[in-house]
Amino acid sequence: MDLDELKRTWEGYDRKLDASVRLNTRMMRGALLDKAETAMTRLSLLVGVELVVLLGAALWLGAFMWRYAGEARFLVPAMMLDLGVIVLVIAGVRQVSAVSQLDYGAPVVAIQKHLESLSVERIRATKWTLFLAPFAWTPISIVFLKDVFNLDVYAAFGVSWLGANVLFGLVVLAVLVGISKRLANSARHASLLQRLSRDFAGHNLTAAMDFLGSLSQFEKEES
């Protein structure tokens, strides 16, 4: 038995499908094709709102830095936060523009490479966001309390309080790493939690890099 004999069996299967498979046009016309438009609109709206919020934060931080340009203890934490926000905005715009230009009707290997490269970028962005999030609390509290309540955190709580917050961030990070490693291998959790855990633990990045390697191999293998 070889593939060419199996091809004849497959042709028989194909003929049976002619009689057996029916397109549910009622469902297609009723909801599905409209749903495609609605889902895209909703997604664009969500991404739009996210970008507006991030841009708002960048502008607020920019104004704060302008006011406290001469005071490094306020300027530096605001700059760190602004840098993070700008990186997130750039990453978001890049992803949205790359996804909107993606043509699924292009050859399989090229599209899969493009999709997997986007996936690598997304995983790296998620990983760094999760990695830095426990430390963001300290600069956020310095900038927010100063701007909203005119409270100088350095003077009010002391440098040791700030140091303790950074240490607490380290502890939270260690706990997050431990939890993500456990959850990444568990199949019992909701897909978003599992995906974040696998992103943070590095499993998804390894899988994406492996697949990119397989695609290159598949493309160049000749004999």
Partner: protein, 179 residues
């Protein structure tokens, strides 16, 4: 004077003509019916979203294979990474008379073929499907985006693998039968 068909009408007519591609791609990449229904829905949505970019100088089937396989490979990779957490849809885009399909599915050759396909990676599955559907090497190369000679090499390797699997399968049956 009859009304001019809308873009949606044109899409549905072409989809009706090539609906078997949806079913075959889904059955190559999914083991159970719920997954197959989800994948058919994803492929159909993407085909409709991409239809605006379809150039009708190209064969619709070639374009449809590309879109469907791209969606299916991404779906397969996503599903194999995570556990199933979705509820099966109530309604299916493709309605299948299960009995008739099952009769064919019972053939030993086809079951063996599905077993072999399940052992292939996502890219080789696409190649085998395109080959079994009777596409010439240049069309397969065009859909996959690799050279024709590369298609020939890969199909040759898969043929060897199937021959080995079949002889192992036959030897196993013979041994069991003689006990």
């Amino acid at each position: 004077m009859p009304a001019k068909p809308t873009r949606q009408d044109q899409f549905l007519i072409l989809l009706e003509e090539h609906k078997k591609i949806l079913f075959k791609v889904a059955s190559v990449y999914c083991r159970n019916r719920a997954d197959r229904d989800d994948l058919v829905q994803e492929m159909t949505l993407q085909l409709w979203r991409s239809f605006g970019r379809y150039d009708d100088r190209q064969r619709f089937s070639t374009w449809m294979y590309r879109v469907s396989l791209n969606v299916a490979i991404s779906f397969y990779r996503r599903e194999s990474r995570r556990s199933r957490a979705t509820v099966p849809a109530d309604d299916s885009i493709l309605e299948v008379a299960g009995e008739e399909i099952d009769v064919v599915m019972l053939s030993d050759e086809l079951r063996m073929l599905h077993r072999v396909i399940e052992q292939l990676d996502e890219l080789d599955r696409a190649l085998v499907l395109l080959y079994l559907d009777g596409n010439p090497h240049d069309t397969i190369a065009d859909v996959m985006g690799i050279s024709e000679s590369n298609v020939g090499t890969k199909i040759g390797r898969i043929k060897q693998r199937i021959r080995r699997e079949w002889s192992r399968h036959s030897t196993g049956e013979h041994t069991n039968g003689s006990r």
